[in-house]
Subunit: 316 residues, 3 copies
Amino acid sequence: MGTPASLMLRGIAPLEAATNDEISVFCDARHAEAFACSRAGAIITTAKLAEQRHDCGTLLIARDPRFAFAAIGLMFHPRSIGAAGISDAADIHPSASVGEGCRIDRGVVVGANVCLGEGCHIGANTVIGDGVEIGPHSVIGSNATVSHALIGAGVRIGAGTVVGGEGFGVVLGATGLMCSAQVGRVIVGDNVRIGGNCTVDRGALGDTVIGSGTMLDNLIQIAHNVRIGRNCIFAGQSGVAGSAIIGDNVMVGGGVSISDHLTIGANARIAGKSGVAQDVPDGAIVAGYPAVPVRQWHRQNVALAKLLRKPAADAG
Amino acid sequence: MGTPASLMLRGIAPLEAATNDEISVFCDARHAEAFACSRAGAIITTAKLAEQRHDCGTLLIARDPRFAFAAIGLMFHPRSIGAAGISDAADIHPSASVGEGCRIDRGVVVGANVCLGEGCHIGANTVIGDGVEIGPHSVIGSNATVSHALIGAGVRIGAGTVVGGEGFGVVLGATGLMCSAQVGRVIVGDNVRIGGNCTVDRGALGDTVIGSGTMLDNLIQIAHNVRIGRNCIFAGQSGVAGSAIIGDNVMVGGGVSISDHLTIGANARIAGKSGVAQDVPDGAIVAGYPAVPVRQWHRQNVALAKLLRKPAADAG
Amino acid sequence: MGTPASLMLRGIAPLEAATNDEISVFCDARHAEAFACSRAGAIITTAKLAEQRHDCGTLLIARDPRFAFAAIGLMFHPRSIGAAGISDAADIHPSASVGEGCRIDRGVVVGANVCLGEGCHIGANTVIGDGVEIGPHSVIGSNATVSHALIGAGVRIGAGTVVGGEGFGVVLGATGLMCSAQVGRVIVGDNVRIGGNCTVDRGALGDTVIGSGTMLDNLIQIAHNVRIGRNCIFAGQSGVAGSAIIGDNVMVGGGVSISDHLTIGANARIAGKSGVAQDVPDGAIVAGYPAVPVRQWHRQNVALAKLLRKPAADAG
């Protein structure tokens, strides 16, 4: 099949499903078979992967095809909040300020002195507590609860997420357990993404901070006074205990637990399911429970398996 | 106490609490004491356990007493959605189609072109997004959010669960992090059970799929493009990362994390708290972090303990 | 700076931010620098820590400064439910009984025969199912769902939490998977604290119980028929599987998983991220996956690291 003189593309699709007016991406050699059989009108790939067998007339070579495809995908599917407007069945406090072009769905509660920037979307039945400020073009899903928070611009918060809940400040005293006052805030930078059913607690005295550009998946716990840097990635079901400090560009795998008061250096990477109980230096890659440098973890696992292959020595 | 000529039973109860018009079950030798003292009118058990000391006049012998008791329990407590009817305080889009005998509680939002089969129950303040289809006799709890989804018949989804949220498609590009477009759906088969406060993300390009008869407990994360087979069981707080494929009849313990793009074979079993970082073959039983065959895991744990009992050798 | 003859304090603040009319706390030597530079009007600390360099004229010496500060903090920030009143946009069943001085926000649903004690606060869009009883001065956050439950006095439940959902009683039978009837309740003692986006399932036949004074952080799963004692502490994302019994004063770290039917003795402590697969005796401290006594766990980790330092021996 030759390269066509011109090509009209109407959407994005996976290799297997794409038709001749759709564009797809091939960035993983494991999908060579799907690449070979794909009927996509165009496929983004690397120079090297383009050498694999294929039947597509238009390959677009990119250094980072995943990124290129994501960028093209957002052109076909630009984010939109739908039609602006405030539902009659939303309850907006008279002292709240709502920017131009906001969409506020039914059942939403917007408390006193709330300030919403322009072009925000608040999903149905979400509750925004008194004094919360949300920057322009931020989107909050349905059934979420946001209080005691300053939220930046372009932030997206998923359905069911709770931002600004009371931190877990349990103190053991002579007379039993006691919860200390939690009077801080949550500060969320610009372009932060928080998934669904997460919990981000307000600070105890100071603030809980999530730096600009940081991305959180679903069911994540961020405890009081945690400070997360910019452009971090947290995969699903990870959690950070109280007062931990996370540097910029940190990547945290799914199901990771980070203990309280730790410092995780910038550019560190934490493998999925790790239990981090010590500080992690800048740029380090750790894994395991307790988390250790990832090479040590792999060698430990090999050594453990080896132990089992020497039953005679063990018995001796 | 002799066997009565006839017996009227009015309900089910545990061994300790059952009265003489209730039926109970004894299926675990650890409860022998409760069996001995039980005043239940009838007790389901196995032929072997029936030999234990007891004072109950009517033992019902079953090969699988747990199953028998569950079946009888559902006769005493048949599932019911209560009185059909649509609350005046629900907001049903005029283009939505609602089947006969549905119950839609107050504060519910049903979006455009939604299609609900007959006999469904949508709990209070739940939000059903545009275009969602839900098969007959499905039940969705309160404060849930369902979008971009095709849901089968007889499905039950717990309170607070988010189905169809945006997948976590973070791409690292030259200019920082970027979230790729997420345009797929969630396909949920018939008789699926999803617990409370779960998150099931829509597919990125293709679909996220949960096969018929699969049962999910609470606080479970199912990422974009995951495909789960039929009749699987996922215990609480387990999670599956993006694009993993889970075969039929797989059993996943509580707190398990399954990494992205893995394949878990049919009939595999994954012990609670495991971190699965490699494919699991059909029928395999794995445990540990990283997960290994369960027998290897047990032997590793023994070998580790043994290491500690040889301090002299270590010091040499 | 000398001790002033009298001092008017107006609030609490962290060492770094406190001004001369605020009180702060210094209870961790790692914050010595902040102590040295603090401009707080008064600082609570221990006799020993008071010897560190500082510039504060009024040190208050306490045996447990954390507890003293928490107690003082609650004087400055007494808990309050705000103005009493029932929103016109709440839906209270005529058969429900609502005590004096309750605050019920908009979108709340209160079912038939619900009984709310005096001075309760039910947050916006929360759903209280039929027959639930809640003791006086309890507070339930927004977007929560509570059913099949008896809740004590002074209880606080966070936003998005689901209490009384159906337990995960999956039974494997000849004809496939089946969910057994779940007909029990959740019994929550006095002064219990449950965080945000938790799930506490109703009992299958008997009840799920959380003892008085117990504190749960966020995103915690408590399965059916679990019985938790008094004054326990559960950190974020921990979970307890069905029918486990937890004694009084147990401390459970973040991300811990406790298997079903286990018994955890009183005063036991479970380190963060542990996977508990065996009973834990009274007063024991365990860690690891599988959890072992904490000293054994530390020695195992050392032994594992040692293995790696003997490559010659391994090769031999």
